[in-house]
Amino acid sequence: MECILGIRFNDFILLAADTIDSRSIVVMKHDVDKFFPLSKNLLMAVCGESGDTTQFSEYIAKNVHLYKMKNDYELSPRASANFTRRMLADSLRSRERYNVNLLMAGYDEVEKKAELYYMDYLASMMELPYCAHGYGSYFVLGCLDAYYKPGKLPSGVV
């Protein structure tokens, strides 16, 4: 399964994703963009069932944009994440569920801090300093557990 990962530092977040769309050993596309910007301060990285990913991400992005049009101010990262989780949770308990895992990174202008939200296809959500989805997580999480420090980037590691 595709890998996306995110690391939160003091006032910025790094999100990374692979660009492969594959089914088992067949690589169907190798230039996929898995990032969906929701606003000036919000970025979402999505992986999972292809088709669901685009549909769901565009739905969330347009709803976030609609909020801004209606109210003149934007949704905060926490509110957007809660909204996204609510949409995932509702769809999970009805018709067909959206089979998507995502990471949402945002910078809250009011509270002046960076927030990274991890959400999986069962609509569980957590604000974390670092997280990853996919097979890559097995490799990366151990590294981050050992070397993560919020204040600085360890040299030579991305």
Binding site: Y73, S76, R78, A79, N82, F83
Partner: protein, 261 residues
């Protein structure tokens, strides 16, 4: 002439008026006064209690006319009480639904706007009468700080620095125009509220039983609302009476100092 066009809400009159909406506003003009003042560190809402019957059991409920909608907002109503109950219940539901969806408190104007869209629907479809209630909303949110809104049966709403609804609201508003100052503090606003009400209400003398004053303020990143206690209201009224006596005495002195014709 008007009779032909006023029996259903969904019809305009030939002059382009909605009579049912106007009649609803008439109902409110006879109801107990509500006054709201926006201070720089909070908001004061004051309401005239019309039901002061001694037989009423008033020990076990929060308030007659002031309702808490959610942690960051309260409202006060003027008009038909049963209509008000339905609307405040709806306001509470709307606020909690927002909180369920977004995980943070609903911004004030959005709540007012949402309810006003519902109120407007009752003036356009359904064949039902409009709600005979005007509402004063006092709230805080992270976008615009303290805010005071007023809505009426037509579904219109506006943001105010100070306003009044119900009985004698016109007199109160003209007094507010003179006496309201931009950077007023919460304490000054409490005194101003008592001053305005004592000058506009019909009763010969204000008393704490007839008045309900609530203040909304922020403390340590939380919004708090408190209804002023009996003693504090009494003290504010006494202070106001003292000021009035001094003004009267001053006027008398000036009249005597002037040479008579």
């Amino acid at each position: 002439m008007a009779r032909r066009y006023d029996s259903r809400t969904t019809i305009f009159s030939p002059e382009g008026r909605l009579y049912q909406v106007e009649y609803a506003m008439e109902a409110i003009a006879h109801a107990g006064t509500c006054l709201g003042i926006l201070a720089k560190d909070g908001i004061i809402l004051a309401a005239e209690k019309k039901n002061t019957n001694v037989l009423l059991d008033d020990e076990n409920f929060f308030s007659d006319k002031i309702y808490k909608l959610y942690d960051d907002m309260v409202c006060s109503v003027a008009g038909i009480t049963s209509d008000a109950n339905v609307l405040t219940n709806e306001l509470r539901l709307i606020a909690q639904r927002y909180f369920l969806q977004y995980g943070e408190p609903m911004p004030c104007e959005q709540l007012v706007s949402w309810l006003c869209n519902i109120k407007q629907a009752y003036t356009q479809y359904g064949g039902k009468r409009p709600f005979g209630v005007s509402i004063l909303y006092a709230g805080w949110d992270k976008h615009y700080g303290f805010q005071l809104y007023q809505s009426d049966p037509s579904g219109n709403y506006g943001g105010w620095k100070a306003t009044c609804i119900g009985n004698y609201s016109n007199a109160a508003i003209s007094l507010l125009k003179q006496d309201y100052k931009e950077e007023i503090s919460l304490q000054e606003a409490k005194a101003l509220v008592v001053k305005i009400l004592s000058k506009t209400l019909d009763t010969t003398k204000l008393s704490p039983e007839k008045l309900e004053i609530a203040s909304l303020y922020r403390e340590k990143n939380n919004t708090k609302m408190s209804i002023l206690k009996h003693e504090e209201v009494k003290r504010l009224i006494e202070d106001q009476e003292r000021v009035e006596k001094e003004e009267e005495a001053q006027k008398k002195r000036e009249a005597e100092a002037r040479p008579s014709t």
